[in-house]
Amino acid sequence: MRHAIRDRTTDARLLVYVLLGTLAGVVYVLFDILSEARLESGTLTGAMASAHSVIDRIVPILAGALLGVCAHYLKLRAQLASANEAAARAEALKIRLQRVERDQAVWVLVAAVLHELNNPLHAIGLLLDELGDTEGDEALRSDLVSRARAQADRALAQLTILRSMRTLAEPDFERIGLHQVVGALAKDVGALAAEHGLVVQVDASRPVLANADPKYVRTILENLLDNSMHALRGVAGGLIEIRLETGHGCALVSVCDNGPPLDETVRASLFEPLRTTKTQGLGLGLPIARALARAMGGELSFDDAKKKTFSLELPLGEAS
């Protein structure tokens, strides 16, 4: 829309230039006819005669140059239009890519939930069959019933996750104060970390605004902190640092810990699903976290050149 308005203004200006050029041409023609007549009648002075001959030669050259400039201008305008079109296409592709990333996160979650849902359903089926085969033994029957209840609760918990994914599939981008999200999270996690003898240090001295979904950001950071706490289990003086800064046109949250370094094989498949070094979970945390980061137009990366650091980059909110 803005492009169309700018184009119309430029067109009007071009018309004014052409009209001015035509007017100058007409003035020149009149001057030429007048001076020609005076030349013939012998009343033109020497200075006027030489000016006449110079103008006669220069004007066609100027006219030619002007035509060249006009042609070049039109060509540039066509190029600009196609560049604008390409930029619009790139923007559309970017949005599509974000949607794919988000779908991927949802898919990874669905796979995990499906897996976790199958186990209790399987157990419930077996428990019911066993109940059918058990006659008389009341103690055994009541044990089987309570186990079936526990498995049903387990299945329900998975369904709750499935339900919460409806909101995950529709991200809610808004300008959020990252310092607030990080502060709240650090407060929640800090107490748990202290129980394990760990310190969570937050360096968020000034407000940083990002264009992001607070639910996504919280999920990602929770995951990173959980990994750090796992890595620091049994490490004396365990320290998790969360830093907040801006740079290169984006908001950056980095989480680093002083746990043991990752070995090469773990490092290579860090963001691949179903790879885990923990005894619990399926190894879906980091792949989901990265997919969520990318769904917000950001990135989640790992670097251990100096310290073991996970960096979450997010698009800046306008006021930052």
Partner: protein, 197 residues
């Protein structure tokens, strides 16, 4: 003689209930909660007819699949039925490459597992397992079993005597004892008895 099934599953309910159902169906069911327990049981519980294992155990997404190779290395050649709550292409591929005989997806009921166990008992074992199975059913002594394996590997009585540091006469006695237990009269018949049943 009861058919022995080793069931490896980390979910307590599933393990116990499938174990009970298999017991009712007449199997001798040995239970293990993880790969380490399974390898331990494989050492102590004697001949295994079929192994049934879960894939994801204790958060390890591939423990059950790696167990197949570990069992083979420990000399267990029984057909392996892999049970899993979620079979993606990668998992199926790895199960196939590790040498699983069947992949059964959860949720399933005990009769479905029993069908699969019977199916792999008939068709799922490799030649080594067929040999193990035949020698197991013949109620041979440990020494006789060793001699029988040498026979099936194509060694002559003299060669077996050398390897086992026995006299050829002793070995010949063992061989006739083996033939008697299997109801055969020659080495050809013995091979047929072992592999074509």
């Amino acid at each position: 003689m009861k058919v022995t099934v080793l069931l490896v599953e980390d979910e307590r309910d599933t393990r116990e209930l499938l174990g009970r159902a298999l017991g009712r169906a007449g199997y001798n069911c040995v239970l293990a909660a993880d790969a380490a327990g399974a390898l331990e049981s494989a050492k102590t519980c004697g001949f295994l007819d079929v192994v049934v294992t879960d894939v994801v155990m204790g958060g390890d997404a591939r423990q059950g699949l790696r167990l197949i190779g570990q069992l083979r290395a420990a000399g267990v050649h029984a057909p392996v039925v892999v049970i899993t709550a979620y079979a993606d292409v990668e998992k199926v591929k790895q199960a196939l490459n590790e040498g699983a005989a069947h992949l059964l997806e959860k949720p399933f009921r005990a009769p479905a597992l029993i069908d699969v166990i019977e199916q792999v008992r008939k068709h799922g074992g490799d030649v080594t397992h067929a040999m193990d199975l035949a020698l197991e059913r013949a109620s041979l002594t440990d020494k006789e079993r060793t001699v029988a394996r040498h026979l099936l590997n194509g060694l002559s009585s003299t060669q077996i005597a050398e390897i086992e540091s026995n006299s050829p006469k002793t070995i010949r006695q063992h061989v006739s004892q083996i033939y008697a237990k299997c109801g055969v009269r020659s080495r050809g018949e013995f091979f047929r008895w072992v592999y074509v049943r």
